[in-house]
């Protein structure tokens, strides 16, 4: 049994504004309220005077949870499923709300006063590597999607819950990561569980593209900025800008960064190698 609290009518409410996208959160499940609020803790906002989109998770019984956000809604048998669905709907809406910014499929690691982006296809290992980097002292701002401001080229990471499966959790624990208490119960762990990035959004100074297949040992090699641009473009969603504008922005992103291709190896070795690279990158920026 996941929830010991009986369904209640009391509603807790928090308000958030993620990159100009306002919403409030309401739930009759204190744990759900706390977990989602923890995800967006850095984006807490005063209560809104005007009506805003409402994200809701409600427990209707011990095995029936409903969630809804704007036009999306569903009913699940477990709280983790409801949390994941609501979080995915929130992320999608945040991305769709962007009138200018470009969304790219990349993890964001704040490094000093700049950012490192870890790009790669789904299943490339961005989440596991991000968490292994967190274990090595690098806060993770987001493991999946980052927005790029086309004017400033600043990276605006979207925090998401980490989707870690059991084999991934075993690997991470073997690497020394202590998973938060919410992991076994809710399968909902978020960047703020592993240290908060205090730096404001900054430009990316290091771009790393994860490419497969996994090797016996990790390999990191510099790549040309044009090649990195082409690879990042392949991980860029349909956005608000024209294709040519998007190319210009991603070229600008690569032009201001050191670009590397990473062939991952065993997790610990790979994370050590990337952590070394990030520390060097931090020193070169300083």
């Amino acid at each position: 049994m996941l929830i010991t609290t009986a369904p209640q009518k009391i509603a807790w409410e928090d308000s958030f504004c993620v990159y100009d996208f306002p919403f409030c959160l309401r739930s009759n499940v204190p744990e759900a309220q706390s977990l989602i609020a923890g995800l967006y803790r850095n984006f807490l906002a005063p209560s809104f005077e005007r009506p805003v989109a409402e994200a809701v998770i409600e427990s209707e019984s011990e095995a029936r949870f409903s969630w809804r956000f704007v036009e999306k809604a569903g009913v699940t048998a477990t709280l983790p499923s409801a949390l994941w669905n609501l979080e995915a709907a929130l992320c999608e809406s945040i991305i769709r709300s962007q009138r200018r910014s470009i969304a790219i499929h990349a993890a964001t690691i704040p490094v000093g006063n700049s950012m490192a982006l870890l790009a790669g296809r789904s299943e490339a290992g961005k989440t596991t590597l991000s968490l292994a980097l967190a274990r090595r002292g690098f806060p993770v701002a987001g493991d999946d999607v980052a927005l790029i401001d086309p004017e400033t080229l600043n990276v605006l990471p979207i925090p998401r819950c980490f989707h870690v499966d059991d084999p991934g959790a075993i690997l991470l624990e073997a690497d020394g990561l202590r998973l938060p208490a919410a992991w076994p119960r809710f399968r909902f762990i978020v960047p703020n569980d592993f240290g908060v990035a205090t730096e404001p959004p900054g430009r990316a100074r290091c771009l790393i593209f994860m490419r497969g297949p996994r090797a016996g040992h990790p390999g990191i090699e510099p790549v040309a900025q044009a090649e990195m641009t082409a690879r990042v473009l392949g991980e860029t969603g349909q956005g608000p800008l024209s294709d040519s504008e998007t190319v210009r922005v991603i070229c600008g992103l690569a032009a201001g960064a050191s670009c590397f291709a990473l062939t991952p190896g065993p997790l610990g070795e790979t994370a050590d190698a990337v952590a070394d690279l990030l520390r060097k990158s931090m020193r070169s920026v300083d």
Partner: protein, 97 residues
């Protein structure tokens, strides 16, 4: 099979894509109609610049031979291969003479 044999030394080429130069001297070629993005290295970028409708393939090879310490025949083969690929991808248009 060697590629580029279909091109003539007097052929000229017109760019049919945007070239986005980057600080490390590489260029990202982008074809708007097809959303095709092709990264090219420094020597590719130099060839791309000469796809202006004025330079013949022969002149492009001459220019590169001034820069690169390689046999002219080797350079010519590389240029032919590169331009044939760009033509195939629709990134340049070949003007036969």
């Amino acid at each position: 099979m060697e590629s580029g044999r279909g091109l003539s030394l007097t052929d000229r080429f017109f760019r049919r894509a945007d070239g986005n130069p980057l600080p490390d001297q590489t260029v990202l070629l982008f074809q708007k109609d097809t959303s095709l993005a092709v990264p090219v290295n420094q020597s590719g970028a130099a060839i791309w610049e000469m796809c202006d409708g004025a330079h013949t393939l022969d002149q492009i090879v001459d220019k590169l031979a001034e820069t690169y310490d390689q046999q002219r025949s080797r350079i010519e083969q590389d240029v032919r291969t590169f331009l044939e690929e760009l033509t195939r991808l629709g990134l340049v248009e070949r003007l036969c003479s």
